[in-house]
């Protein structure tokens, strides 16, 4: 409960543009102290990263935030901050200028102490061993996403603990890189005269590309003179099969797939099977700036009252997806109706 309180306070102060040091002081004043161990609940690490690369971090009693730069762990210069009323408890403040490719890794001591009590790691695998594991992994996969690096570290730590965690484990990674754009094109344009314009926009877009909709993908194939074929590799009775078009990362069916994407984003749980919806969720999660170009032509057959209620109109489904991407997944989005 105190961890949630601390995290909520930190987030609120940061989103309210409160200075990081001031926020940390207020939290320190508010946290109760354990009578036996004389340490306060709970420990915390706050990172405030600005778009120009200036990163301020302030930490209390957690393993130090790890900076990985050019494949190696780099020492961060920290300034201790204490107040007489904190009774010897000390915060550590640091400011760094992040460079493209840098990664910051934040962990709780449940991770650094993984393996505690084992014959080969009586005190846990330790901070340095954890850092070496991370740098080795990044050497093997230099473009590994922050999400995958966190998951990698967490699964390693759980394995060190014999597949049952001895303490709670938290891990967060921040990867400083250029934003990855994704263009999602769905629905035929309202005026067919604009088909060519949409196709050219897709062709010239610098980033990942997804086309959702049978008619939409036929329009793109026709306008750009690209071959398109159905991929019947894995038949999924729930989600129509995807197609293959050169230069396009994903070609899927429209409404059923998008409705499933909205459902997955809402639940936060991505099913393990590979279909149009799970692949689109993957693409979205790997991207930062997602641009939707939405054709508003309506297929009258989809309005047939005999069709299931779940077959919602495209714009309603997209409204749900956009809201989730902005509020829950913190993506930048842009929508153009055409």
């Amino acid at each position: 409960m105190l961890a949630s309180l601390t995290a909520t306070m930190a987030l609120e102060y940061m989103s309210g543009d409160c200075m990081i040091a001031r926020a940390a002081e207020i939290i320190m004043d508010a946290l109760p102290i354990c009578r036996t161990r004389r340490i306060s609940y709970s420990t915390f690490s706050i990172v405030d990263a600005a778009a120009d690369g200036t990163v301020r971090l302030i930490e209390y009693a957690n393993p130090p935030v790890l900076l990985i730069r050019d494949g190696a762990a780099v020492e961060i210069g920290r300034i201790p901050v204490g107040k007489p009323r904190w009774g010897g408890r000390v915060l550590h403040y640091a400011e760094i200028k992040a460079r493209a490719g840098d990664r910051l890794v934040l962990v709780s001591d449940g991770i650094t102490q993984a393996g505690l009590g084992r014959a080969d790691t009586p005190l846990g695998w330790g901070y340095d061993q954890m850092a070496r594991t991370l740098t080795r992994q990044l050497e093997a996969a230099p473009d590994l996403s922050a999400r995958d690096l966190s998951q990698f570290l967490l699964s390693r730590a759980i394995r060190m603990d014999g597949d049952k965690t001895g303490d709670d484990m938290t891990c967060a990674c921040i990867y400083f890189r250029r934003p990855r754009p994704l263009l999602l094109l769905t629905g035929p344009p309202f005026y067919t005269e604009r088909d060519a314009e949409v196709a050219r926009y897709l062709e010239r877009f610098d980033g990942r590309k997804a086309v959702c909709g049978g008619t939409t993908s036929d329009i793109i194939a026709r306008e750009l003179k690209l071959p398109v074929s159905m991929d019947m590799g894995n038949f999924d009775p729930e989600i129509p099969n995807t197609s293959i078009m050169p230069g396009i990362d994903l070609v899927s069916e429209g409404c059923v797939t998008l409705a499933k994407v909205a459902e997955i984003l809402e639940s936060g749980v991505v099913p393990s099977n590979r279909n149009g919806a799970t692949r689109l969720v993957d693409l979205i999660q790997q991207s930062d700036q997602i641009e939707f170009v939405v054709g508003t032509a309506v297929n009258p057959a989809h309005q047939d009252p005999c069709l299931p209620m779940e077959l919602d109109i495209r714009r309603n489904v997209l409204k749900r997806i956009l809201r989730l991407l902005e509020t829950k997944y913190l993506k930048e989005t842009k929508v153009t109706f055409i």
Partner: protein
């Protein structure tokens, strides 16, 4: 012996009204026709824009013949007709 071309629509309306049942169509073909039938899946045949009322999805085309409200038995019946059985 001419090949009989089957095109199954996997568009949105066809999918939600049961087109996925045709993944098993090949298993239902009589042995005498198995070598003559070519099954293709399409993103959308576009037929839902032309048909209405009782002529609902899913749609399957057997050569040039459209089977509306298609089911495995109705598609098999159409294949047999086209084969002259």
């Amino acid at each position: 012996m001419e090949t009989i071309r089957i095109r199954i629509c996997l568009g949105t309306a066809c999918h939600v009204l049961g087109a996925s049942q045709f993944q098993h169509l090949a298993d239902h073909l009589p042995a005498s026709l198995r070598d003559r039938v070519q099954i293709e899946w399409t993103r959308c045949l576009g037929l839902c824009r032309e048909y209405s009322g009782q002529d609902q999805p899913p749609y399957v085309m057997v050569n040039d013949q459209v089977v509306t409200r298609a089911s495995i038995p109705s598609v098999l019946a159409c294949i047999r007709t086209q084969a002259g059985d």
